[in-house]
Each structure stands twice: as structure tokens, then as C-alpha cells.
């Protein structure tokens, strides 16, 4: 029982390490995942700073659909249904004001460094 288990563990370790070595440069910058909760007609936190290559997940906890739409459509989630989420990988550096096209009173800022 011990041997197969050890083998299994070694294989798992090998898989993990090979995944790391195979990762290309931009992927290495990935890792951090930021979450913005959409609830009570607000983005929380309303302002978020991330690094290029990091992921941001907007989770819609309201009862109705919302969007995450940046000015000039630098990024645009389209409709995010109630209870659903949308993930975006920050591409270009800059400061992006965004909002919900369905509810213009909702505003947020994403800063990509």
C-alpha cells in the first residue's frame, strides 16, 4: 500500500513541477485572483489595483443582471446573470473607469499596474 501511494505522490509532484517549468513568462505573472462583489447596486471594492496578468472575478450577488463595462469598451462583460460571475485578465496597464450599462448609477475603477 505504501509503494503505490509514494509513486502516486511522486507523479503528482512531477506534474506540478512540470507545470511550473512549462509556464511561459506572462503566465508566471499570473497567480493573484481579485474578487469584486456586485451587491446592493455597488461594486465592492469600488476601486481595485492589480498587476498585469492578474485575474479579477466579479461576482454578482444581486437579484438582477449587471454588467462590468469600461469606458470605450476596453473590457465589457456583457450581461452577468444573478448569481453568476465574470473573470477578466488584466491586459494593459492604465486606469479604467467602468460601470453597469443597465444601471448607470453604478461605478467602479480598475487600476492595472
Amino acid at each position: 500500500m505504501t509503494r503505490p501511494r509514494l509513486l502516486c505522490l511522486s507523479l503528482a509532484a512531477l506534474l506540478v513541477s512540470s507545470d511550473i517549468t512549462a509556464a511561459d513568462a506572462p503566465r508566471a505573472a499570473e497567480g493573484a485572483v481579485h474578487t469584486v462583489v456586485i451587491e446592493n447596486m455597488r461594486y465592492n471594492p469600488p476601486e481595485l489595483s492589480v498587476h498585469r496578468g492578474e485575474r479579477i472575478v466579479w461576482v454578482n450577488k444581486d437579484l438582477f443582471p449587471h454588467t462590468v463595462t469600461a469606458a470605450a469598451h476596453a473590457f465589457d462583460s456583457g450581461s452577468i446573470a444573478a448569481g453568476a460571475s465574470w473573470t477578466y485578465v488584466a491586459g494593459k496597464t492604465g486606469e479604467y473607469a467602468y460601470g453597469c450599462t443597465f444601471h448607470p448609477t453604478m461605478k467602479g475603477i480598475l487600476k492595472v499596474q
Partner: protein, 177 residues
């Protein structure tokens, strides 16, 4: 038109404000009927406005009212079913329904810019009246914690809808509608 608008708002406030006349506040079953009726009359007005409104902004707003208020009613209906509460019609829900019917009848006689203005003016008055009822009567009177939580959860949407309606209202008056 301004007189009509304020009269309309007054009537709405009277309908919703009637809840304050309850000796011990409305019961959860009565609150459920008030909430479901309040959402439904706005969905009905939205459906008419979506097909009849002249301005694209007004049509978009109408679609938002249909989507958002339908979602609120879906949650409210699921909750009361789960809680085995049967919505109980009462004077407030009945006058809301009557006010909604009268609003629809009036809107059907209008067209173009006059329709847009009447619909948006009513939306401003309606959302103000519902917010007032939520704060003064419905949220304080709700006994079941989940029903109270639902009312608290939907409140920000009514605030946002009111802001949106006011913004469109000001745009319509600037464009001379």
C-alpha cells in the same frame, strides 16, 4: 402637467401611506401582497412603455424595470412559497393595483413625447412612494427575518431606479418634451 404629476405622487403616497394606518402594521402575508403588487404594476407599465415610448432612453429604462422588478417578484414569490405564506390582498395592495390600472389607462391615451413624460413622471413618483413605504412601514413591520432581509436587499435597486428615472426626467425637460 406638473399638477397632474404631483397629484399622481400624492395618490401613490396615499395608497402606500395607508399602511401606516394599520393598528399594528401589516402582517407578513399582507406585506407579501403589497410587494408583489407593487412590482407587478411597474412591470405592466414597463411593458407598455417598451412598446410605446418614443425616446430610446425611456424604452431602455422600461426594459430595465421589467427585468429588475420581475427578478424581485421571482425572489419574493419563491420566498413566500418556501415560508408557506399566502399573500393576502389588503386595502394597500388593492389601491396599488387600482393606481396601476389607472396609470395604464392614462398612458394608453398618450403618444410620443407626451407619453414619455407621463410614464417617467409616474416612475419618479412611484419609486419615491415605494421607498417611503419600505422605510416607514414594510421593513419595520416585517416579522420574518428572511422577508425583512429581502426587503432590505431590494431597497438599493429602488434608489438606483429613482436616480435613473430622475436623470431621464431632467433630460426630457431639457429637450423640451
Amino acid at each position: 402637467m406638473k399638477c397632474t404629476t404631483s397629484l399622481c405622487g400624492t395618490l401613490l403616497l396615499l395608497a402606500l401611506g395607508a399602511t401606516s394606518a394599520w393598528a399594528a402594521g401589516p402582517t407578513d402575508a399582507q406585506i407579501a401582497a403589497i410587494v408583489i403588487t407593487a412590482n407587478q404594476v411597474d412591470i405592466d407599465a414597463g411593458k407598455l412603455a417598451k412598446s410605446k415610448a418614443h425616446s430610446p432612453d425611456v424604452r431602455e429604462f422600461a426594459q430595465r424595470m421589467i427585468t429588475d422588478h420581475s427578478a424581485v417578484n421571482k425572489s419574493a414569490t419563491e420566498l413566500v412559497e418556501r415560508l408557506h405564506v399566502t399573500p393576502e390582498p389588503n386595502p394597500t395592495s388593492e389601491s396599488l393595483q387600482k393606481g396601476g390600472d389607472e396609470n395604464l389607462a392614462k398612458l394608453k391615451t398618450l403618444s410620443g413625447a407626451a407619453f414619455d413624460k407621463a410614464y417617467i413622471d409616474h416612475e419618479v413618483a412611484y419609486h419615491e412612494a415605494v421607498l417611503s413605504a419600505l422605510d416607514k412601514t414594510l421593513i419595520p413591520s416585517a416579522q420574518n427575518a428572511e422577508l425583512k432581509a429581502l426587503l432590505v436587499k431590494v431597497r438599493p435597486a429602488f434608489v438606483a431606479h429613482l436616480d435613473m428615472a430622475k436623470q431621464i426626467q431632467s433630460g426630457l425637460s431639457k429637450s423640451g418634451a
